[in-house]
């Protein structure tokens, strides 16, 4: 998985609780991304980062926030989890501005009860 780890790999939580997912890379890539994957929707971009402290919203950013204080770490936070946020979350990285594939982590399966 191109030097990308995600933690935790599985989490079950209750509605209304805060949740933070972590993505860690050892590739020193500039760009990092958070996606969610749901049946029938494919991968949808939540947020992405183009450098330390530089982040931007993706297609489905409502209810999520991110932070990147170090090149290697990109955190995704659900401030108050809802059942609609039950999904599999993938982190991805890439190292160039254009024409460059994204490498994906192993994913985190989150269940919100």
């Amino acid at each position: 998985d191109a030097g990308i780890t995600q933690s935790p790999r599985h989490k079950v939580t209750e509605t209304g609780t805060p949740v933070t997912l972590r993505c860690h890379q050892t590739e020193n890539h500039r760009y990092m991304y958070w996606y969610r994957q749901d049946p029938g929707h494919g991968l949808r971009l939540i947020h992405y980062s183009y450098g330390v402290k530089d982040t931007d919203k993706g297609e489905v950013s409502d209810g999520y926030s991110v932070s990147r204080s170090k090149t290697e770490d990109f955190l995704l936070t659900l401030e108050s989890a809802t059942s609609s946020q039950t999904s599999v979350y993938f982190c991805a990285i890439s190292d160039r501005d254009s024409y460059n594939e994204q490498f994906f982590g192993p994913g985190t399966r989150l269940t919100v009860l």
Binding site: I4, Y50, G58, F90, R96, S98, Y99, E101, F104
Partner: protein
């Protein structure tokens, strides 16, 4: 926003046959396309990519074809093997690597 779609949600092929997975895209401004393979319980894995100034690109047992006239992308897998069984996604890049749009995926099943 514009989206990428797939003609067939499932595809079953005999081991040893060639597989063709299709993808339609709608954003004529997209200039970079990727095919990913995703096995159960794993993250997507890069297979092959192609830029819009090309119409064909070959890798090991895989070929991607791009027809910009009809906005169609295909992935050809030669001599399909059991290990090729997975979900395959196409993705288009609308913004120089900043905005990949993924299709819902096609499940490829290789029959013995």
């Amino acid at each position: 926003g514009e989206s990428v779609g797939l003609h067939l949600p499932t595809l079953s092929v005999q081991e040893g046959d060639n597989s063709i997975i299709n993808c339609a895209y709608s954003n004529s401004a997209s200039d970079y396309f990727i095919w990913y393979k995703q096995e159960s319980g794993k993250g997507p894995q890069f297979i092959i990519d192609i830029r819009s100034n090309m119409d064909k690109r070959q890798g090991q047992r895989v070929t991607v074809l791009l027809n910009k006239t009809v906005k169609h992308l295909s992935l050809q897998i030669a001599a399909t093997q059991p290990g090729d069984s997975a979900v395959y996604f196409c993705a288009e890049d609308e913004n120089y690597g900043q905005n990949f749009v993924f299709g819902p995926g096609t499940r490829l099943s290789v029959l013995p």
